[in-house]
Symmetry: C2
């Protein structure tokens, strides 16, 4: 048994989909969420900069004595995961491996598509993970930069999103994939549109659920699950590096309920000046 909290880190609000899946799978666990909303998005930035931001987030969550760190951001998982374990002083789980594993298991033909931010796709992390799990897999990747702002505008299910999706996904349709990984935590908000464009024969993989399963497996080995939930439930905390005007609204769209957020600063205190 280990009642310390689990840390969940994302560039912004998207990781709340992972938070939610972990909370459902493991209701006894306390979670500390950190969204780097002051510097979001990570998907358009360089690997070196994303890795630096991820190190600062890890330092912050280590200060909260987390027993495990979930990197709920595809971009950060794709460029920085390996370097974080030592700094975290705890096991680190990203969202790439669970999503890749699920896709490798689900696909009949081995023709697997991956969509994500420019940084995630350019890293080749999904492609490498899928092929390490399944040698015969052919992976087709495509960056879809407009999907995040469309999701944040609340336009994920309308005509404009449909046309954008048709343009981005046409190469994947032509490649006759049978499984598509939604390699960005925002993309589940476009599931309906993406599903319509790809057709019913293509299975969509949202890595939030598979990440929650992997977190459970890993925790059972070590450092151990939390004791049974107390009558008033697990205690969660939500930290963000910025609280812009529409933040609560967007966060609630992802989490499905209101939350109380606390402000924090990453990097040094001098940044406050």
């Amino acid at each position: 048994m280990d009642d310390r909290p689990i840390g969940v880190f994302d560039s912004g609000v998207g990781g709340l989909t992972v938070f939610r899946a972990v909370e459902r799978a493991l209701p006894a666990e306390s979670l500390v969420y950190l969204g780097d909303t002051a510097r979001v998005p990570y998907g358009t930035k360089s690997p070196a900069t994303v890795a630096r931001f991820a190190r600062q987030a890890t330092r912050f969550l280590r200060g909260h004595r987390v027993k495990m760190l979930i990197v709920a951001c595809n971009t950060a998982s794709s460029v920085a995961l390996e370097s974080l374990e030592e700094q975290a002083g705890a096991p680190v789980i990203g969202v790439i491996h669970p999503g890749a594993r699920r896709a490798a298991e689900l696909s009949q033909t081995g023709r697997i598509g991956v969509i994500g931010t420019r940084a995630t796709i350019d890293s080749g992390a999904y492609s490498a993970a899928i092929r390490s799990l399944r040698e015969d897999a052919e992976v087709f990747s495509h960056a879809c930069p407009l999907f995040v702002p469309l999701a944040e505008e609340g336009w994920g299910a309308d005509g404009i999103a449909h046309q954008v999706a048709q343009r981005y996904l046409e190469p994947l349709r032509q490649a006759r994939i049978d499984t598509l990984v939604l390699g960005c935590t925002h993309y589940p908000l476009l599931t309906e549109t993406i599903g319509q464009v790809m057709g019913r024969s293509v299975q969509l993989v949202d890595s939030a659920e598979s990440t929650a399963s992997e977190v459970r497996e890993r925790l059972e080995r070590e450092p151990g699950l939390a004791a049974r939930p107390s009558p008033d439930g697990a205690k969660h905390r939500f930290f963000v590096t910025d609280v812009p005007q529409p933040f609560q609204e967007v966060a609630e769209r992802f989490l499905g309920r209101p939350i109380l957020t606390e402000a924090c600063i990453l990097g040094s205190r001098e940044e406050l000046e």
Copy 2:
């Protein structure tokens, strides 16, 4: 005469449109550009966070002994301008006032539209500036969050951009404005689309040119223009806080020529860790 450089600060690459206009208007001046590409965009962030980032940028440019600071970012101009002058140790010029002045002069009917990021529009800065210059003005504002990613995708002139523009601009069409301020440095890349949707009777104001005129006027008063250009031209420097993969391409689309960029970090040295 004052041969010290002029500092130009933006959240990313968009301010290069202002850089370019100033360079054309004042070819003898040396310019130091700073794009905070590690934390771009500012338009979705809170006033307090944007103000903090702007103070860090000002400190950096002061270190380069600038004789004037141009805040080439509409969002930063709208929330942080007044607080920067003391810290800059030099006159500070934003892009809001020049754009507002131009619109107030151009409009026949006084019905003026403004489009920009969520943060710029929510600040009400354009509306206040226009009405302080022209009491009879009625200002109609609308945030257009998808315009920046459309411009960065290079999709500013196609069918999807046209539909997005129709949706965002419909309330401004109905308001029968005769002048529209492009209150974001990215929007000139959508000029054609915005012009088609608004129709020929609406004049578009791009604040880059008007900012360059205001910079010249202000410099002539004090601290003074640079001496004549040397035979090999003015010396410019370009600093960015991150150099993501497609940066050069996007930067060249804005500036119209290749540039050599230098990396820098804002905030403290500890952030490097």
